[in-house]
Amino acid sequence: MDDPVLKKLSFIMGPVEAPKFIDATCRDLGLRGLSGPQERMLFGCALIQRGGILEAVGRAIKIQAILHGASEP
């Protein structure tokens, strides 16, 4: 599992729910996928807004995206 977002979300919601959650969230954000760091940054920011465990995961995704070259939206 090379996709870092899928790996994190699979850890907290399981391998079946995680891809569905990613697809649904990407649709809401108008993203085609999470192939680049900038997309992952937007995805992470959206999760931060949701609070709770998703906020924590979103922060990790956002910081990882920045380390991989994304800039703040």
């Binding site: 790996k7 994190k8 850890f11 990882q64 920045i66 380390l67 991989h68």
Partner: protein, 304 residues
């Protein structure tokens, strides 16, 4: 790619084997031996000022040793922030990486505590005030404003060179203060795991980076080297002032220029060139980008 032969779990295992406590390395009762030099000849400019007497050179060596420790305490500030940042990026993902990075951050904070204890002991017994660079947070801000890959390159540079600093201090003819040598040794044995973690982090960043990002990382790295060189020049001038105060002697312009130049050259060799030409560091740079590695080699030559 970097073709690394270790992983995060190995780094944690090795780190557990060599871990030490601050009280073991430097008990609060420890005294520095001011009859001996603190820094070996290869790490100081203090013995390159011919008009100073041996006793005055020894005094400058002590001032130099104090600044050396302060500079390390100084850079650990941004390294802690970097390690914590990289650990947070791995949350809910690679637990071996999280453990290695959190341990890395904890050890760096421990090194700061060791260095602060050493500086306090120095200041207690040296009897003369020594000027040192003061704003670690401002320097951390400059470093952390660069691309994350460049920040990790500088971190690897700083950590990988500590081995050379230790081996310099324990040569057969070394007469340095045993406490200072012990400090260099214990710093190095943990930093060598940190250097491996830096390389692992760099490899992950490289895997998702294009040639432009790598090129930018090299350019940012060289800018940080220049910025660091400016700080070292400031420290060299402060060392001259500290020596002047300790000896109650005013140096004329020519003497002052000689002291500052020798100190600056010593700092460059210790903090910049010894990292830039380190074989392990050069190997990582070549794995990142051959042209970038060549530009670093060129820069090292110009600073040597």
């Amino acid at each position: 790619m970097l073709e690394l032969t270790y992983d995060y779990a190995t780094c944690v295992r090795n780190s557990e084997k060599v871990a030490w406590r601050v009280d073991e390395v430097m008990p609060t009762s420890a005294r520095l031996d001011f009859s001996r030099p603190f820094l070996p000849s290869g790490l100081t400019g203090s013995d390159k000022v011919p008009f100073l007497s041996p006793a005055e050179q020894l005094l400058l060596n002590h001032i130099n040793g104090h600044a050396y420790i302060n500079l390390f305490a100084f850079v650990e500030e941004y390294i802690v922030a970097t390690a914590v940042n990289h650990a947070q990026a791995e949350m809910f993902g690679d637990h071996s990486a999280i453990r290695a990075l959190v341990r890395f951050a904890e050890e760096e904070i421990k090194h700061q505590e060791l260095f602060w204890r050493y500086l306090a002991a120095f200041e207690r017994d040296f009897k003369h005030p020594c000027q040192v660079l003061g704003s670690a947070a401002a320097v951390a801000q400059v470093i952390l404003s660069k691309s994350p890959m460049a920040v990790m390159m500088v971190t690897l540079h700083l950590e990988i060179m500590t081995q050379a600093h230790y081996t310099e201090s324990i040569g057969p003819d070394s007469n340095v203060d045993p406490l200072f040598a012990r400090l260099l040794k214990h710093h190095w044995i943990e930093e060598c795991q940190h250097a491996k973690i830096d390389a692992l982090e760099l490899e992950k960043m490289l895997a998702v980076s294009g040639p432009e990002q790598v090129k930018k990382a090299f350019s940012d790295y060289l800018e940080l080297i220049d910025a660091f060189d400016g700080l070292l020049d400031q420290q060299a001038a402060m060392d001259c002032d500290s020596l002047s105060g300790a000896l109650a002697r005013i140096f004329d312009a020519d003497e002052r220029a000689q002291i500052v130049q020798a100190q600056h050259q010593g700092y460059r060799r210790t903090f910049l060139v010894s990292g830039m030409v380190n074989k392990s560091f050069v190997k990582v740079l070549k794995g990142m980008d051959a042209d970038g590695a060549a530009s670093v080699a060129q820069k090292a030559k110009s600073l040597a």
